[in-house]
């Protein structure tokens, strides 16, 4: 009798499983862009939005700024200027595999944090924290930077110490207080997961079928996903392309203050990316009690760069509070106010920094500061925000992320 009950329960279970699979098969083609309800994860064969698939199965970046040119092809200028050269040409499969890796905490030493712990799509691909938090709740030195439009950036990290996304990601992956893993552990972990073996074989079809997962394949996939995070359809962009009704009077006032030579914001936060990708020493304050962060002085081994940081893009800036390398300013209003409080006002007394020449005393009024914030809020566009995977190839639970 017991045996009969057992068999019927198992039978029912099997039936139910088939039923679920059948349902998911029916609903897939119309329901979901990535096939997350399938029992077996498969990589997406189409490019994410913002990209066109070419005949070599590569995703090529496409946007309205390709109508324009820029001086010396540097991707800086005015409203109708071309963007800097973009990192593209990854395959749809690499981009989708990168998405899984990006959200998978299995990449960290103890399986507790993923890339998305500090670069959360719900937080403008930053984390909403003053400074990043790594494994074992370790407090990091600087604020997490947004990843929107990183495909256009030539230098990465606040102190510009990495020249490519592949180089950059090896920082957090292997830093003891960030994800804390090692090359050996990372390879052993991923090669030990059947799902990942299969997905890597799919994303890198040129290799031999039984080859193990290689580090460069991991880096390429994550870089591919990060390069797909494109935000170029804000209301500001509509204005820039010629639809002047996209911004209201106050926002246009803000734009004009932003680009005026009094506030000078656009001199470093230059359209269309809203960064000129240079290092600037602007003398923002450190969190209370902490010494001055030398920043790019270490990168370039040059005293004149002490306290210098990479000019960040302002796209989706509304979503990435708090601000500056130290996360010192909680709001955009506080941040813009910093620039009118006097050249070097927050620099410790014993420091002699090479403060950037555009940092001066513009004497902006409260009204002007409010308009600047109005304008900055027009740079928001998350229409191409990627989907968070609902299940991970490692079987790890996504619920644990961002706890």
């Amino acid at each position: 009798m017991k045996r009969l009950i057992f068999i019927s329960i198992v039978g029912l279970g099997i039936l139910l499983t088939f039923y679920i699979i059948r349902i998911s098969f029916i609903s897939i083609p119309t329901e979901e862009y990535s096939q997350v309800f399938k029992s077996e994860i498969e990589l997406c064969k189409t490019c994410p939005p913002g990209f066109q698939l070419n005949e070599n199965n590569q995703c090529i970046s496409r946007n309205l700024y390709m109508q324009y040119e820029s001086i010396e092809n540097k991707g800086v200028g005015g409203l109708k200027s071309a963007l800097p050269t973009v990192r593209d040409g990854f395959t749809p499969q690499q981009i989708d595999l990168g998405r899984y890796l990006f959200f998978d905490p299995i990449l960290s030493a103890d399986g507790s944090v993923s890339c998305s712990s500090c670069h959360d799509p719900e937080m403008g691909f930053s984390d909403g924290k003053t400074v990043g938090v790594g494994i074992h709740q370790a407090k990091l030195k600087r604020a997490s930077t947004s990843l929107w439009n990183v495909a256009y950036l030539k230098k990465l990290f606040w102190d510009a110490r990495a020249g490519s996304l592949e180089e950059q990601m090896q920082g957090p992956l292997y830093a003891e207080d960030e994800m804390g893993t090692t090359e050996d552990q990372l390879l052993a972990t991923l090669n030990g997961i059947g799902n990942y073996q299969r997905l890597f074989a799919d994303a890198f079809p040129k290799r031999k079928p039984n080859d193990s997962i290689k580090l460069h394949e991991i880096y390429t996939s994550i870089a591919a996903f990060e390069s797909s995070l494109i935000s170029l359809n804000s209301r500001y962009d509509q204005y820039a392309h010629g639809y002047h009704q996209a911004l209201n009077e106050k926002e246009i006032e803000g734009l004009n203050i932003f680009r005026s030579f009094v506030a000078r914001c656009a001199e470093c936060h230059t359209p269309p990316l809203f960064t000129n990708q240079q290092i600037a020493v602007i003398g923002t304050p450190e969190p209370d009690g902490l010494p001055l962060d030398p920043g790019a002085e270490i990168t370039f081994n040059d005293k004149s760069c002490r306290g210098g940081f990479k000019v960040p893009s302002l796209r989706n800036i509304e979503k990435t509070a708090p601000y500056m390398h130290s996360g010192k300013f909680k709001t955009l209003r506080e941040t813009v106010e910093f620039y009118t409080k006097g050249r070097g006002h927050a620099v410790p007394e014993n420091e002699d920094l090479f403060i950037h020449w555009h940092i001066w005393e513009p004497n902006l009024t409260d009204y002007e500061l409010d308009r600047l914030v109005d304008f900055l809020n027009t740079l928001t566009d998350e229409s191409f925000k990627p989907k968070v995977p609902e299940i991970l190839p490692s079987g790890k639970d996504l619920q644990n992320i961002n706890s």
Partner: protein, 506 residues
Amino acid sequence: MDKPKKSSILKKTVYTIFLLLIGFFVGYKFFSPNSGDTPLPVKNTLYRSTTNANDTIISDHLEEFNGEIFEVKNGDIIMDAVKKAKPGDLIRVYPGSYSETVYIDKDNITFQGVIKDGNWPVLDGKKELNDAFLYSGNGIQIEGFKIINYKGNGIMGQAGNNFVLRNNWIIDAGVYGIFPQYGKNGLIEYNILTGIEDAAIYVGMCDNIDVLHNEVYGNVAGIEIENSRHCLVENNNAYDNTGGILAFITPGLPIKTTYDVIIRNNFVHENNHENFGAPGSIVSGIPPGTGILVMAADDVIIENNLISGNKNVGIVITDFENGGAKASNDPESDPNPDNIVILDNIMINNGTEPIGEVKALMLTQLSTRGPDILAIGGGTGSTIRDKNKYLTFGLGDFGTPKIDNTKDVASFLLDKPAEPRKVSKKELGEYTYFGVCSGCHAYDIRLIGVPVNIIQMIYKDNPEGMVEYMNKPKNLRDDYPEMPPQNYLSEEAKLAVAEYMLSLKK
């Protein structure tokens, strides 16, 4: 007997011609159009030659003016006209006082200040407004304005090619008087600028710019060419500034070079003004009494200038480190001035009161007077003609120039306007579909909006219908969310993307 008769015929003839001339003149005065007004500008007068060279290519670009004319009179607001204007239009501003920031995010708009009986249209910032003119469009022409009391710039361009900034009179308009940035192919001529706390005319990160016939005095810097290439500075009068004419590479900017600059036929004299630059600004380190200053720039030719009465030094050639500016080093920016060419110049009465460092240098040469020409710091390949004409310091390794003059260069303006990028309809369709629409529409799977293959069924051979829907979507399907209007796309982009989407095969 014949003689008087002849003489009377002659008299009559002269008298008749005289009357005819008066009649013609009076008639012309009363009946000719636009009498007494400033004439309409010829479109693309940019390519009017300023010298006698290459005149044949110039006439190719003269076009008939066929835009609309907006007239702005005292009491009106210039921006009201700008908002209505379309590319190719002309905005004429009559004498009066206007207090506003004129921003132009459109192409091919001409602003013409109408000066009547010596009265100018005046843009007055009242020390409250930031900038008088801000433009980002191509083909902007601004001429005939008096601009006073702004805090930022008189005229500032951010991108914008093929500009003409002419006949403007700019007094105490803030940090820069005329400041095109990221522009290609522009002409700055016949402007008068004074009281500017940085550079009166500042060409920043541009290519192919002519700066001609301007008068700059009482500024910190008169004319500055910074991180720009192919620039001609000619026939200007630069006096009573802290520094007269500058060619710089400033580190830390996204465009890293200055080269191919000609500074020619200018008067550069008595640039001894106290330095009133803002603390920390690059020019705040310029010592008063500097005629021409070349910092880190390459391939600068200095020819046939009259350089006199500059109390510190007539011409300074320096690397960045010795340039007196305090800014972070930039590993991507070469700090040394290379291949500077000094041809014939007239230099008198310079260096009468050199600053401390220069004085100390000169004492090593047993001279108490400052030099006409000083070269300091790194740099290679520089040359000078007839070095012995001048008192110099640091020119030991300067050789003899390979050229005698620059007469083969009449202008650095392009033969034809810098063209915008040419984009085919198909490309525009691709950019729009993948750049905008693909966030919601994929070919045969459902994202947020209806798949493209279904749209193709509905709008087969009817791209115009699709455009209509984009402008004013009406929700036809309960199973999809309503599309927000896509009316912000240009008419061309909407039609291009409609045709493109209808032609997609996968």
